[in-house]
Symmetry: C2
Subunit: 787 residues, 2 copies
C-alpha cells in the first residue's frame, strides 16, 4: 500500500507513494499526503468522492464555536477539490471497473501531489487519468489542480462537474452561515461564507481552464447553484487518444488574513473583489507558471533547511524530510496570532488546538533552524497571556495559568467530554483542561529556551520576562502548604502521563513549577542589575519586589521528590510506586493506539503502574543537568517497561533519553518507531490528522538525540552519537544569530559557520570546549565517552 521511494533519479528519500487503491485507507493517505503552507492545510482527498473520505481544508486561526456547549475549533472550509467526473454517463470512481495501474505520490521536494491511473470501465473503455495538485508556497491563498483524462481505445463523452461546495462540516458541526454564491462571466465561481460565532468571512474563489491536447477549449459550462454550492458542469467529446485537461485555480481568503490587518480591506465586497482579482491574475499565469513559482519557493526552503542522513535504511532520510515538510505545513509562520495545532492543519483531531506540544516538541525545530518562525510561536503565548490571566483568576489563582488547549484568546478550550467509558456507558470526562497544569511551566520553558537559543533580548524585554514572571506568580499561588510536612505540595493534577489523573506531587509538575519560580527570580534579579528600565516597568506593573520576597520564602519549601538512595528511582507521583504492577504485554508494541482503554476505565487505570507516555523522562530532557546520568538510566529502565507509548509524544523523548544514557542502539529502535507513528504501515494511525508533536519529535530525535544538540544556559552543546546504521548526518543549525552547518560521520564532527561573523562561538562537544571561527573538525573517537 505505502511505498517510500520514487521512480526518478534523485527522488530517493523524497517520495511517499500509495501504490494501490483501497478505499479503507483513504484517511491515512489524506493525512500523510496532506498539502499546505502554514496558512492553509488541504487533506489529500481524491478528486472523486468516496464514502469514508474526510474532505477537509483548514485555514490557520479561523476558530469558531458551533454552540455554547462546545469549544472552538478550526472550521472545515468549503471544498474545491472534488470533481465529479462522468465517463460516457457513468460516474468515475475506482471501486468499479478495472484498475490496470495506479500510483499516487507526494513529492516532498516541491509539495506536489500526483496521481496516475490506467482504468477500464465496465464497458471496456480504457482511460488514462492523471491528477496533479499543489498548494502554493509562494502565494499562500492559492491551490492549483490539474486533471487530465485521455480515453485510450474509444471516443468518450467526458462530463466534469466542479465548483465550490460549502456543505462541508466538522463531523456534522456546521460552522458557516449559508453565505453568498456567485458566478461571474459564466466562469469564475465565488462562494462566501461567514462563521456563525466568530464572524470570520471565508471567500472561496475558483476558475477553470479546459484544453484538448494543449489547445484551449471554449466549452460553455452549465451553471448550477444548490444549497451552499455553486457549480459548473462541462461536457466534452474526447476522441480516442486525445487528452482533455481541466485546470482549476482556486483561492481562499478570510477577513482575518494578516494582509487586511496591515492594509485593511474596507468591507466584504472589497475582499470578494480582491479575491476575484487574485484569481483572474493567477489564471493569466496559468497552472504551469503558478506551479513553477511554488516549486522555486520549496527549493529555496530545502536549500536552507535540509537534513541529510546516510543510513543503511533509506527510510530514515525520508522520515526526516517528511518531518520537515509537515513542520512547515503545520506552522503559521506568517502570523503570530496563531500557533501549531496538535494535528497541524491536517485533520479535525484536537480541533486545531494548541497544546504543550508546541513548546516542547515543535518549537525546538524552529529555534535551531528558523528563529524568525520560533519567535512567532513565542509571541503567540504573549498574545494569549490575558486569556491565561483570566483562567488563573477564574480558578482563584494569581498570574497566568495557561490553558491546556489553546486557540485564539488563550482561554481554556479543552472539551469536557471524550470517548466512551466502557464501564459506565457514558462519555469520559476530560480532566486535562482543569488539572493538567504543567502547561503553564512548559510555556515559560519555551520562552526561556527561545531566549537561550536566539539571544533575542528585544523579545524578552517586550514579551518574554512578563510571561516568565506571570507564570511564576501562578505557581506561587498554586502551591499548597502542608502543615504536617512543612512543605509546599501540588495536589490533584495530571502530569504528562495522562493515565494517572488526580495525583499529588507529580514529579514533573513540581520540578517544573520550581524551575519556573526560580527562573523568574533569576530574571528579576538580573534585570534589577543590568536593565533597570525594564525592571522598573515590570515592577510597577507587578510589584516585583514584593513578589521576589514572597518567592524567596516559598521556593525553598517546594517539595521536590528525590531519587531513592538505593534504587535512584524518583516517584512519578505520591502513589505511583505503590500501585499494582500488571502484565502489559497485551498492550505493548501494539500498532493500535490506546487499546487498554477498551478494557479499563480511566478510574481503573489509575490503580495500576501503567503510563501512557514518558513523564519523568521528559523532565530529564528539559532539566537535563539537574539529574545524574545514573538517575536517568535507573528511571528509564523502571518506567519504560510500564509505558504503553499510547501518546505519540512518548517515543521520541525515550529515544533522546536513550542517547543521553548512551544506549544508541535502543535510541535508534525508538527513533525508528517514532518515525513510523504517521508514516508507518498502521493504516489507521493518523486518520484524524498527523501527530504534530511526534513529527517534531522525529527532528528532535535526529538532531537533539543523535545530533546531540542541546543548549543549556547560554552554551551550545553538540554531543553527537550516530546509530550504527548511519554513515553520516548533516544538518543546519541556527544559534544566536549564527547559522552553522554540522556534519557528523562515524569518526568526525565538522562544524562550519555559514554566517560571516567576526567573533568566536563557544561550543561544548562531549564535555570539551571549542572555539568556532569558520570551521572546526573534531575527531569523535578522541572525545566520545566509551559505552
Amino acid at each position: 500500500m505505502i511505498e517510500y521511494k520514487g521512480k526518478d533519479h534523485g527522488s530517493a528519500g523524497w517520495i511517499i507513494a500509495e501504490n494501490a487503491f483501497d478505499a479503507r485507507y483513504l484517511a491515512k493517505f489524506e493525512t500523510i499526503l496532506c498539502q499546505g503552507n502554514g496558512y492553509l492545510g488541504l487533506r489529500a482527498t481524491t478528486e472523486e468522492a468516496y464514502t469514508g473520505e474526510r474532505r477537509n481544508m483548514f485555514v490557520a486561526g479561523t476558530y469558531n464555536r458551533f454552540a455554547n456547549q462546545e469549544v472552538t475549533e478550526l472550521p472545515n472550509a468549503a471544498d474545491m477539490v472534488r470533481l465529479d467526473i462522468s465517463l460516457n454517463g457513468v460516474p468515475f470512481h475506482l471501486e468499479k471497473g478495472t484498475i490496470h495501474a495506479y500510483r499516487r505520490e507526494l513529492d516532498l521536494r516541491q509539495g506536489e501531489l500526483r496521481r496516475e491511473i490506467l482504468w477500464e470501465d465496465e464497458a471496456g473503455v480504457q482511460y488514462k487519468l492523471c491528477f496533479r495538485r499543489f498548494v502554493s508556497l509562494r502565494d499562500r491563498h492559492l491551490i492549483g489542480i490539474r486533471a487530465e483524462i485521455t480515453p485510450l481505445n474509444q471516443d468518450a463523452e467526458i462530463t466534469i462537474r466542479s465548483g465550490i461546495n460549502g456543505q462541508m462540516a466538522n463531523s456534522g458541526a456546521q460552522h458557516f452561515l449559508e453565505g453568498e454564491r456567485r458566478i461571474f462571466d459564466q466562469e469564475l465561481l465565488q462562494l462566501t461564507a461567514t462563521t456563525t460565532e466568530s464572524g470570520i468571512d471565508f471567500v472561496h474563489t475558483c476558475l477553470h481552464h479546459l484544453s484538448k491536447d494543449g489547445t484551449r477549449l471554449n466549452v460553455s459550462p452549465a451553471p448550477a447553484m444548490e444549497r451552499r454550492k455553486v457549480l459548473l458542469t462541462y461536457k466534452i467529446k474526447a476522441e480516442a487518444g486525445k487528452r482533455i485537461t481541466l485546470d482549476k485555480i482556486a483561492t481562499v481568503h478570510t477577513s482575518i488574513d494578516l494582509e487586511w490587518s496591515d492594509h485593511p480591506v474596507a468591507n466584504l465586497p472589497a475582499l470578494q473583489e480582491t479575491a476575484r482579482d487574485h484569481v483572474w491574475q493567477a489564471a493569466i499565469k496559468g497552472f504551469d507558471q503558478l506551479f513553477a513559482e511554488s516549486e522555486q519557493a520549496w527549493k529555496r526552503q530545502w536549500t536552507d533547511s535540509r537534513i541529510e542522513i546516510r543510513s543503511k535504511d533509506p527510510f530514515d532520510q525520508l522520515a526526516v524530510h517528511f518531518a520537515q515538510y509537515h513542520l512547515l505545513l503545520m506552522t503559521p509562520a506568517h502570523d503570530s496570532r496563531f500557533s501549531v495545532g496538535a494535528k497541524g492543519l491536517t485533520g479535525e483531531g484536537y480541533k486545531g488546538h494548541v497544546f504543550w506540544d508546541t513548546e516542547i516538541f515543535i518549537m525546538p525545530y524552529f529555534l535551531y533552524t528558523d528563529p524568525q518562525t520560533a519567535r512567532k510561536l513565542a509571541e503567540y503565548r504573549y498574545h494569549t497571556l490575558n486569556g491565561a490571566r483570566k483562567k488563573a483568576k477564574d480558578n482563584g489563582y494569581r498570574g497566568a495559568m495557561y490553558p491546556w488547549e489553546s486557540a485564539v484568546t488563550g482561554e481554556e478550550e479543552t472539551p469536557e467530554w471524550g470517548p466512551v467509558d466502557v464501564v459506565a456507558g457514558t462519555p469520559t470526562y476530560i480532566w486535562t483542561g482543569k488539572i493538567e497544569q504543567h502547561i503553564t511551566a512548559d510555556v515559560a520553558y519555551g520562552v526561556w529556551h527561545y531566549y537561550q537559543a536566539t539571544g533575542d533580548q528585544e523579545y524578552m524585554d517586550r514579551y518574554g520576562y512578563e510571561i516568565i514572571l506571570e507564570t511564576a506568580a501562578f505557581w506561587a499561588s498554586r502551591l499548597e502548604w502542608s502543615e504536617e510536612d512543612q512543605k509546599y505540595y501540588i495536589c490533584d493534577v495530571i502530569g504528562p502521563d495522562e493515565y494517572k489523573e488526580h495525583v499529588n506531587n507529580n514529579a514533573f509538575t513540581n520540578y517544573m513549577a520550581y524551575w519556573n519560580i526560580t527562573k523568574a527570580m533569576e530574571c528579576a534579579r538580573q534585570l534589577m542589575h543590568a536593565q533597570s528600565d525594564v525592571y522598573s516597568a515590570l515592577d510597577s506593573k507587578f510589584a516585583l519586589a514584593e513578589r521576589l520576597m514572597e518567592w524567596e520564602e516559598i521556593v525553598k519549601l517546594i517539595y521536590l521528590p528525590q531519587p531513592d538512595p538505593d534504587t535512584l528511582l524518583i516517584p512519578q507521583d505520591d502513589t505511583y510506586l505503590h500501585k499494582q504492577v500488571v502484565d502489559l504485554e497485551k498492550y505493548r508494541n501494539q500498532e493500535i493506539v490506546a487499546t487498554i482503554l477498551a478494557d479499563y476505565s480511566m478510574t481503573q487505570l489509575s490503580d495500576i503502574q501503567v503510563s501512557k507516555q514518558a513523564d519523568i523522562l521528559v523532565l530529564f530532557y528539559l532539566l537535563e543537568d539537574w539529574f545524574s546520568r545514573e538517575t536517568k538510566a535507573a528511571n528509564w529502565h523502571y518506567y519504560e517497561p510500564k509505558t504503553l507509548h499510547d501518546s505519540s509524544l512518548s517515543l521520541s523523548t525515550h529515544s533522546i533519553l536513550a542517547c543521553d544514557v548512551n544506549d544508541v542502539e535502543l535510541a535508534y529502535q525508538m527513533f525508528a518507531k517514532a518515525a513510523r507513528v504517521d508514516l508507518g504501515t498502521n493504516l489507521h494511525s493518523c486518520d484524524e490528522g498527523i501527530h504534530a508533536a511526534s513529527i517534531g519529535g522525529i527532528w528532535k530525535a535526529v538532531v537533539m538525540g543523535f545530533g546531540g544538540v542541546r543548549s543549556w544556559e547560554g552554551t551550545l552543546r553538540l554531543n553527537p552519537k550516530l546509530p550504527p546504521a548511519w554513515e553520516s548526518l548533516s544538518y543546519p543549525l541556527s544559534w544566536r544569530s549564527e547559522r552553522l552547518q554540522v556534519k557528523i560521520t562515524r569518526d568526525k564532527l565538522l562544524v562550519e559557520r555559514l554566517t560571516s561573523g567576526t567573533g568566536q562561538l563557544n561550543l561544548s562537544i562531549h564535555g570539551q570546549s571549542y572555539l568556532l571561527k569558520d570551521r572546526i573538525v573534531v575527531d569523535l573517537e578522541e572525545v566520545m565517552p566509551s559505552e
Copy 2:
C-alpha cells in the same frame, strides 16, 4: 431498473421493485420506497453507505431554523439505519465484488422494504444477504430492521458496526446541538439531541439482537462514542451455510410529541427513560411480532380505503395504491398542529413546508375517504391563523394573509433565494412568499370544501367561519381601486403559473378573491339568521356588520376577466395574451424538469406565452359551475400547448379538466403521465422527495376525474367516465358521515351505502338526481352524455 410487479400470487399492483443496483439512482429509490406513518418518514437508504445517498429521517412538525438568515425546515434526525458490515475485513458494498442476484422491493400491502442479494466478494466468498425494514403503523415511534447474512461457500468473519449517528445534517445545515450519548447495559444505545433554535429534544434509542440460524447469540459488542455518534461493533464467526441475523429495534421520540402534551413528561430525563422503556418492551416482543402488529394495522387500512382499478395496464392499479400509501405516509393524521409538506416526509425538498398543495391537491383524498384526518388538516390552518394575521399586518393589510410556505406558526417561511439565474450568475430571488397570494383564498376554499363534504358544523363554528371571514377581510383590504376603470384590481401577483411573476389581475387570483369575499358574506348572512350565538361571537370579535357593509360595496366592483365573446378565452392576466408565442417543442414532454430555466432567466420567461402549470384551469376545477363547458374547452386547448407541466401539480388538473370537457382518452394520457411523475422511469425526478401534490393528484384524477366525484354546495355528484383501458373502478367514498362504496364498470354504476343510516342521500349522476338508501345501480349508457 424499476419494476412494478412482485413474485408471489396476489402481489400484482402492490410491489415497486428495484431489480438491479445502480448507485446513480439511489435517491430515486430512497424516495419512492420511503417508509413512514405520518409521524416519521424514513428514506429507503441502504444499510451500507454510498456516495450520493441522502440518508434522511424526518419527524413531522419538528421545524428548526439553522440561522436567522434562513427559514425553518424539518431537521434531518440521527440515522439508525446504516450498518457498516465487513466481511472478512472488507467493507461490504455493491460497487465492489460481483452481484449474482439483486432485488429490492417495497410491498405496499404492509409497507415492508425487502432486499435480497447474492453477492461474491473479490476473494470468491459468496454471501446471501437479506434486509427487511418497516416503520410501524401500529407504534409510530418504532422502526424495525433485520439484516441476515449467510456465507455460502466458506466460513467468514462478519463485523457489524451499528448504532446512532447524529452527524446528519440538511445539506450541510446542522440543526442539532451535539447532545447526549449513552450506552445502557452494554446493549441499549441512546442519543439525545436538541434542535438549536426551536429547542425540540429528539431522543433516539435502539437495541440489537443477534442470532445464528435462529438461536440467540451472546456476543459482547465493542462500544464506541465518536462525535455525535454512539456505536456498537459486533464480531461474529459464521460457518458456511449458517445464517447470522441482526435485529435492530429503533425508536425516535421528541419533546413535542402529542403524548407529552396530553400527559406531560416532566423533563428530559423522564422522556429518555420513557424511550428506553419503550425499546426494552418492544425488544421483548421482538422483530417478528412487532412487524406482525404493523402488518395488521396496514391490512385494516387497506380494507377501509382501497381503490380497485381493473385496467389493461396493471400500472394504473399500482399507481393508485402507491398514491394511497404515500398519502398516508405524508400526513400527520395524529396531530393537527402540523400539516403535509410539499415532499411529505420523504426528502429535504421544500424544507417540509406546507403549500396550497394541501388544500387543493391532498385534502380532497381525506375529505372523501378519511374525514377525521381531513379535519386535522383543516384545524391546522386555524392553529396558524395568528401567523397569517401577522403576515397581513406586516404587509399593511387586514384579516389573515396565509403564508405561501407554512410551517408551525403560520408565518411566512418561503426562502428568499433559489437556483441560479443563468444570466446574472446570482441566485434567483423567490417572489412567491411576497406575491403568490392566492394561497389565502385556497385555504378558505379548503375550509369550505371540508364543510361541504363533511357537514361538520362544529368545526365551522369553532374554526371554519373565522378563517373564511378573516381571509375575506384580507382580500377586501388587498384590492386596489382603479379610478380610471372604476374597478378593483389585484396587481403585482403570481398566479398558479409561476413563470409569470408580477402580473396584474391574474384571473385565478381575482376570481378566488371574489369567491372568498362572497362566501364570507354568505356565511355571515346565514349565521345571522340561523346561528345567532355564533354570529354574535364573531360580530363582537370582527365587527361583522361593518365588514358586511363594506364587502357589499366592493364585491360588485372586483374585476373578473370574462371570456372573450368570440374565442371564449379568459386572459390569464392583463398581459399574457399579448406576449410573444415561441416554439416550446424543446421543453415539452421532457422528462427533465424545468429545462427552460437553463436557457431563460425568470425575467426573460415573463415575456413569452409559456406556463409552468395549469393556472386558469385550476380555477375551472375549483369553481366549476361558474364556467361553461365550452369556455373550459376553449381555454384548455389554448393554454395546454403553452404549458410545460414543469410543476407536478399540473398534469392531474389537466386530466380532470379533460374529463370535464369529455376527452377521456386525453384525460387518460394525462393521468398516465401524472402517475409517473415519481414512479416513472425518469430516475432523477424525485431525488429530493416525492411530489405530494402530484400524488394527491393521482387519486384526484382517478376518483374526481374518471370517478366523477365532486361536491358543490351540498350535493354529491358522481359523473363517472371510465377511460377505454379500464374495465372497472371501485372506490370507497365518505360523504357527510356516510360511507359509500362506488363501483363503476363500463356500463354500470353501483353505489352501496356502508353506513346504516335511516335517511336517504341525494346524489347527482350525470345531471340526474337519485336517492340512495342502501344501494343504487345506474345504467351508465342511459345517463352518459354523448361525446
